[in-house]
Symmetry: C2
Subunit: 140 residues, 2 copies
């Protein structure tokens, strides 16, 4: 087996953390985590996952694509609901296993399958014993 | 085996999504995903993970605790660096497998192990072929 036939060495840490190459660190399921926030307010709308294809389509189209773990399919967010997420900015973290999307949302502006604007519609109290941590609805 | 001896039934979807009980949906590794953002600017600082103990300590102390997957230990963020994250608001998503923390950061205000304020210090271009997606440093 010649050197050219060997699989490429994994990128070293400095290349991943300080370089300008996109080198996604997919987990054992082939996914990276994606945090999607509203481009204007910073509100976190959802946390989802992307495989390589979803990541590539998001970059190329400027609209958010995810991998649906429950349905095991590529998922063009808003395809049926009209809640298309147009990407204003995309960021990647130090070890390249997480993505941030800053988006504007089409259709009725919703994001969560429960009908709300954001999936994070409940607060958790802090500074209390965990058994007294009663969630509080703060949206619709 | 009597009814009282049986393990409790998993909570139904409506209870998880619409209820006021904290019912974290830990993954197979016993973790939920945590997105930590700056309470004042909305900037996403980091994405990390919490096991039950980290979640409970965060709720009870009002400071961010995580589970370090690489070191396999509980991790009180800032314990050595002084970059303690004081929780201003904590939120949970629809299916309770993700947490958002809005924090203020102690010490020098940093968060990333590379020394930066946020782990998301590089942008990914959109609207380009993925092979031309060259990252751009936007901080430090």
């Amino acid at each position: 087996m010649c050197d050219a036939c060997l699989p490429p060495a994994p990128p070293d840490r400095r290349t991943v953390e300080e370089g300008t190459d996109l080198l996604p660190a997919f987990d054992s399921a082939g996914l990276v985590t994606c945090v999607t926030q509203h481009a204007d307010t910073g509100e976190v709308l959802m946390v989802a996952h992307m495989n390589g294809e979803a990541l590539a389509r998001t970059i190329e189209t400027g609209e958010a694509w995810y991998w649906s773990r429950s349905r095991r399919t590529l998922w063009h967010k808003g395809d049926t609901s009209g809640q298309i997420q147009s990407v204003v900015e995309m960021r990647v973290d130090c070890d390249q296993d997480a993505i941030v999307l800053k988006v504007r949302v089409g259709g009725d502006g919703g994001c969560c399958h429960t009908g709300r604007r954001s999936c994070f519609y409940r607060t958790v109290p802090v500074g209390v014993p965990v058994e007294k941590a009663i969630l509080k609805h703060t949206e619709g």
